[in-house]
């Protein structure tokens, strides 16, 4: 997992490597300064040597400037490396997701993909920056400071031989205990957010049923979880400060006593004792820092795993770059086709079907009968488990995938418009489309009347998801967008459900008359939308129950007759 992520540092590798080196330089200067100060005191002040005081003073100022330069340079390289790293990860994630097949997308939910690309990447960026800065800085500072204590105080360094293990063990236990409390608290946040969110979305239901108190109960429960866990974690965390103070004071007392003895016998000088007081602070704080970084990294661990999971998922469909690029005509053939979404699922079994180029085909059937799955195979949104789907006489897997999808245009059931203008959205179908092309497509989809009635016409703004258009208008825009591709096959998956029957039938009429060669496959819940098709396919439980014209089915299929009667007797007012 780490390798998957770290290989994304790429062109920022040099910055990632320089940063720790700069940190070493910064720390070295910082650790040097107290010893230089000791020299001033012992050799300069005590001996009354003014000249020496100034000389060393200048050296310290130089050291401070060096430390500053290293520090600021490190600040820059670390930011450069970590921001670049995050950008690379984001780009790679995005490309990978774009290359996913429908089957791959099904595996991850949309919201989880969004979290992975946003929050998780930010977490990883932060921990990476910490890794190349603090993770090097603190241990190095620790080691250097110990060396200097040994250099200045000799035997005094034994004090730390006792103090360090004590602090390390305490830090370990405190952080381990708090880690569980804090992760529990964060889980509490999830349910906290969920209750608020549900309450916001369902506020009318809550108020209509006067359930404010009950909701408050749920909210209290979630809030209490957060409070209890934070209290628990922070109470343990509260030991940290006093603990560090105790250790610091103990060290100071021990150092003072042993130092006084060493000075007394002439093994050490006063200035050196002072420097060791400073080193005590550096050693102990770098220990705490290291502990904190480890905790942060372990929190980010979950994010790393989730990102790596996406990056390591290989797109399951081969796009067949070198495949056939020309689709001869709009004929479709299903030859003993079976299909399922997973290993054990069987959604379609043994489908045989023959559609001639230019025909209009209707597909009806209950939810779950396999209508959408059937048409998905034509544009190769999924691959068949068995058998073969042929378009223009060739198996869909023999075509270059993009070429195939450009010829087989699908208007999805859950369709989406993107923020931008109407024309921008329509040009998804064909970036080079002229204004006349766009108008022609909108005429067929009967979208031009309402677009042209708007103030800005084709330049009208579309909100994210197309929320500023009604359901029927959105559907007509999506049909126009699909038509702009000038495909050989147009598939509409329940794409006129929100359009009134009159408009619906006009659209079908236009499709029939204006784009004659186009093979049209229409899924609908409304019989009226498919009644005049050349063939109507009745799907039932993954099988084709019957195929025929309206009249044929009406005369021989009892289910079809039932459906027809219910829909004409008590149909939709929207019809």
């Amino acid at each position: 997992m780490l390798k998957t992520l770290l290989s994304r540092v790429r062109e920022y590798k040099k910055f990632a490597f320089i940063t720790p080196l700069l940190m070493v330089g910064e720390v070295a200067m910082e650790v040097l300064i107290p010893t230089l100060m000791a020299l001033i005191v012992d050799t300069g002040v005590t001996a009354g040597n003014m000249d020496y005081v100034f000389r060393v003073g200048i050296i310290i100022v130089v050291a401070a400037f060096l430390s500053l330069s290293f520090g600021v340079a490190g600040a820059w390289t670390a930011s450069k490396a970590s921001a670049g790293f995050a950008t690379n990860i984001r780009n790679d994630l995005y490309s990978r997701i774009m290359d996913f097949s429908f089957a791959d997308v099904d595996k991850f939910s949309t919201s989880s993909l969004i979290t992975r690309m946003t929050t998780d990447v930010q977490n990883v960026q932060q921990s990476f920056q910490m890794m190349i800065r603090i993770c090097v800085r603190s241990p190095i500072m620790f080691i250097f400071a110990i060396i200097m204590v040994y250099h200045n105080g000799g035997a005094l360094s034994l004090v730390f031989a006792v103090a360090i293990p004590v602090v390390a063990v305490c830090i370990f236990f405190i952080f381990r205990r708090t880690y569980t409390s804090f992760t529990n608290a964060f889980r509490g946040y999830d349910s906290f957010n969920r209750v608020v969110q549900e309450n916001l979305n369902g506020i009318r239901t809550v108020k209509a049923y006067v359930r404010e108190e009950e909701q408050l109960g749920k909210f209290e429960e979630a809030t209490e979880t957060i409070r209890a866990n934070f209290k628990k974690g922070q109470t343990i965390m509260a030991l940290m400060g006093p603990l560090m103070m105790t250790v610091t004071y103990c060290c100071m007392i021990a150092i003072s006593y042993i130092g006084a003895r060493l000075i007394n016998i002439g093994h050490m000088e006063t200035g050196e004792l002072m420097s060791i007081y400073t080193y005590t602070g550096q050693i102990l704080s770098s220990l705490v820092m290291t502990g904190m970084v480890i905790v942060m990294l372990s929190i980010a661990h979950a994010s790393m795993v989730r990102i790596a999971e996406v990056l390591n998922t290989k797109p399951s469909m081969d796009t067949n770059e070198n495949g056939e690029t020309a689709v001869k005509d709009g004929s479709v053939e299903f030859d003993h086709v079976s299909f399922g979404y997973g290993k054990n699922s069987k959604v379609l079994s043994d489908i045989n079907l023959n559609i001639k180029s230019g025909q209009m085909i209707g597909i009806i059937g209950n939810t779950g009968s396999g209508k959408t799955s059937l048409i998905s195979l034509i544009a190769r949104l999924y691959d068949v488990s068995n058998g073969s789907v042929k378009v223009g006489g060739k198996d869909v897997r023999e075509y270059n995938l993009n070429a195939l999808r450009n010829e087989v245009s699908v208007v999805l059931q859950k369709n989406t418009l993107f923020s931008g203008t109407v024309a921008e959205n329509l040009r998804w179908g064909n970036p080079e489309a002229t204004d006349a092309d766009i108008k022609a497509a909108c005429d067929v989809a009967l979208a031009s009347p309402f677009i042209e009635a708007m103030k800005d016409g084709y330049n009208s703004h579309v909100e994210q998801g197309g929320t500023n258009f009604s359901g029927g208008q959105r559907q007509r825009l999506c049909i126009a967008r699909a038509l702009l591709k000038k495909p050989k096959i147009l598939i509409m998956d329940d794409s006129t459900s929100a359009v009134d029957t009159a408009t619906d039938s006009q659209i079908r009429k236009a499709l029939r008359e204006d784009v004659k060669d186009l093979t049209k496959i229409i899924i609908s819940q409304r019989l009226s939308s498919v009644m005049d098709a050349d063939q109507i396919i009745m799907m039932n439980n993954g099988h084709i129950q019957d195929i025929g014209t309206h009249e044929e089915l009406l005369s021989r299929d009892a289910d079809y007759r039932d459906l027809y009667e219910t829909q004409t007797r008590g149909g939709n007012l929207d019809d």
């Binding site: 001033i40 003014m50 005081v53 310290i60 520090g71 600021v72 600040a75 930011s79 921001a83 995050a86 995005y94 997701i97 774009m98 429908f102 919201s111 969004i114 979290t115 690309m117 946003t118 946040y189 957010n193 608020v196 969110q197 979305n201 009318r204 108020k207 209509a208 049923y209 009950e214 909701q215 408050l216 809030t223 922070q234 509260a238 030991l239 006093p242 004071y249 100071m252 003072s256 006084a260 000075i263 007394n264 002439g266 209950n366 939810t367 949104l381 993009n402 245009s409 699908v410 999805l412 369709n415 993107f418 998801g465 029927g472 591709k485 819940q525 219910t566 149909g571 007012l573 929207d574």
Partner: protein, 634 residues
């Protein structure tokens, strides 16, 4: 999920006022704890000064005198150290108590604030939710309480501690040497200047970084939701390119922002280092020139001063860093207070719904236990005796005008009546005012003019909760809550027995599919019932209304296309539910409309046609056009 966009304004409008209010929330009911905390802070500040000073005294008083002395007396040294140990251990204890007390204060305060916010939220009128985006409200609960949490549990004490310590350190320094104090003050000002200029720049950078982040996150959200369309249109390449450009922009602003933030540490630290040198050199010059102790300058003093100056500049840094945090938190606090200060839904109603016994003469008496019969208890202002009216479900609207905002009316002169058990259908195009009318019945909104009467009582006089209990609502979009199926049905009647739940589910035709679920009625639903189909969710919403058993029902029929089988189930479930109740229905199905006692055709907030199906067809008006499909409904 994407919080950056809702991060809100950075600065508080009136920080003083917000601060006062935050403090009163934190300490208002915990005055004793507050006193205790201040005491703790003083003790810990004292111990910092004391221990810094001790080092100097120790060097001057105990170390220097024994240099080169053979077999010195160690007893005074040990005594001094023991005394030091005793004093600092007291401060350690108080420090611990301080931290612990603050943990409970901050978490309790936060708990209180969150509960207050939620209680407030649920008391707000529906119009509030119309006017405010859910994301923005969410961010009050997440981002703003988070920063407030930071402020209360860290910044508050640290700030107090820093200020008190600063003062004590300053006084001690002056007492020791005013020349060296002057040096420290000069460097402190320098540090402040440097850090505030970095902070200012990084603040600006941070804002542009947040904006770029919002762009990237927004793009991700939109494209992830439209992934399938991207693939169908082979738009992958283009969208990768667009994303790459946004991403590069973010990288640049992030690098700049982080560089500044990272540079803060080295800059302030090295100003500190140079200050150190200045102190030592100036100190050394004075010590050497004055010949040492004569002027009171000793090595011990220098050592003490070095420690004091470090804690002085640390605290100055602390304050300047916390100030930023404080302003951020106060801005969040202001937004929280804004929510808390919103006007709650008012309820002046005094007519209550009570259990009743009705004898054969039609006399109504109040009953303490459940009778299955209900009545309106109506006390009168003029002192005449309380009257009881049986709950029947008779609705009258007379000359009702309504607008969501004062001077923009969306409904005009709406008059209609529904006798108990009658069904009234509303039809008309989107925006004609169908939903608005039904929202007035349960007082989601209050009317501007006219009267609505429920069983002859003006609904303004009825307690809102009781009014809503007597009205069932089936909304177009079913909202399910995380919990079991049973809990979701019980939403309509909290004390319902399992038998009642099953009976309601059977009436709604939901029983069969529920039994097919792995855990039956105990199947967990999450994320608004994502595991259920649209039709199944509608069946549950019918069951929920059935168990509440209200005399009046308001239904907004769903338009989403569901398959014919489920559609038939929903249809018959609705029909069973409607039996014997007064029903207002926003109709999309022909059968529903046909069976109605009256159909109201709405256009631009007015009733333009009314009558039953046959009347309206005969009129050849708007209804006729709708019916024949010549006009689009939604």
């Amino acid at each position: 999920m994407i919080r950056a966009r809702n991060a809100g304004g950075a600065r508080a409008k009136d920080p003083k006022k917000a601060m006062k209010r935050v403090l009163s929330l934190v300490f208002g009911e915990r005055k004793l704890k507050f006193v205790f905390i201040v005491v703790c802070i003083f003790i810990s500040a004292f111990s910092i000064v004391y221990s810094s000073n001790f080092l100097g005294q120790f060097i001057d008083g105990y170390v220097t005198p024994i240099i080169g002395v053979e077999n010195p007396d160690w007893a005074p040294v040990v005594r001094a150290l023991v005394q030091f140990a005793a004093i600092v251990s007291v401060s350690v204890v108080f420090n611990y108590l301080l931290s612990r007390t603050m943990v409970s204060i901050s978490q309790d305060t936060l708990y209180d604030i969150r509960i207050k916010m939620f209680r407030k939220l649920d008391s707000l009128p529906i119009s509030y939710f119309d006017q405010n985006q859910h994301g923005t409200i969410m961010s009050r609960f997440s981002n703003d309480t988070d920063t407030l949490n930071q402020f209360i549990s860290n910044s508050l004490v640290q700030l107090l501690q820093a200020i008190i310590t600063l003062v004590m350190v300053f006084v001690t320094m002056i007492m020791n040497s005013w020349i060296l104090t002057l040096v420290v003050v000069v460097f402190a000002l320098l540090t402040m200047k440097a850090s505030s200029s970095i902070a200012k720049r990084s603040g600006r950078q941070f804002a542009s970084q947040q904006a770029d982040l919002a762009d990237v996150n927004g793009f991700i959200e939109e494209m992830m939701n439209g992934q399938r369309v991207i693939k169908v249109f082979c738009h992958e390449g283009q969208s990768k390119e667009d994303f790459g450009a946004l991403n590069q922009k973010l990288r640049k602003s992030m690098t700049k922002g982080n560089t500044l933030a990272n540079a803060m540490g080295p800059v302030t630290m090295n100003i500190g280092n140079i200050q150190y040198v200045a102190l030592v050199v100036i100190g050394a010059v004075v010590v050497i020139l004055s010949g040492g102790a004569a002027a009171g300058y000793t090595i011990g003093l220098l050592a003490a001063f070095l420690q004091l100056s470090r804690s002085f500049s640390n605290n100055v840094n602390q304050i300047s860093q916390q100030m930023n945090m404080v302003l951020l938190a106060l801005a969040g606090a202001e937004r929280i207070f804004e929510l808390l200060d919103e006007e709650s839904e008012t309820d002046d109603g005094y007519v209550m719904l009570v259990n009743a016994k009705i004898d054969e003469n039609g006399n109504v008496t109040e009953s303490a236990e459940k009778t299955g019969q209900w009545a309106w208890k109506h006390p009168h202002h003029d002192g005449s005796p309380v009257t009881y009216t049986p709950l029947r479900g008779d609705i009258v609207m007379k000359d009702v005008d309504f607008g969501y905002v004062q001077d923009k009316m969306v409904l005009h002169d709406i008059s209609l009546y529904a006798k108990p058990g009658q069904k009234i259908a509303f039809v008309g195009s989107t925006g004609a005012g169908k939903t608005t009318i039904t929202n007035l019945l349960n007082r989601f909104y209050d009317i501007q003019d006219g009267k609505i009467r429920f069983d002859g009582i003006n609904i303004n006089k009825i307690k809102k909760d009781d009014l809503r209990h007597s009205l069932g609502m089936i909304l177009q979009d079913t909202n399910l809550f995380t919990g079991t199926i049973k809990e979701n049905i019980k939403f309509g009647k909290l004390d319902a027995t399992d038998e009642e739940v099953i009976a309601a589910a059977k009436l709604a035709n939901a029983h069969d599919f529920i039994m097919m679920m792995p855990d039956g009625y105990d199947t967990m639903l999450t994320n608004n019932g994502e595991s259920l189909s649209q039709g199944q969710r509608q069946l549950l919403s019918i069951a929920r209304a059935a168990i509440a058993d209200p005399p009046v029902l308001v239904m907004d029929e769903a338009t989403s296309s569901i398959d014919t089988h489920t559609e038939a189930l929903v249809q018959s479930g609705m029909d069973k539910l409607m039996e014997g109740r007064t029903v207002f229905v926003i109709a999309h199905r022909l059968s529903t409309v046909r069976n109605s006692n009256a159909i109201m055709v709405l256009d631009h907030g007015r009733i333009i046609e009314r009558g039953d199906h046959d009347d309206l067809i005969a009129q050849h008006g708007v209804y006729y056009k709708l019916y024949t499909g010549a006009v689009e409904l939604d």
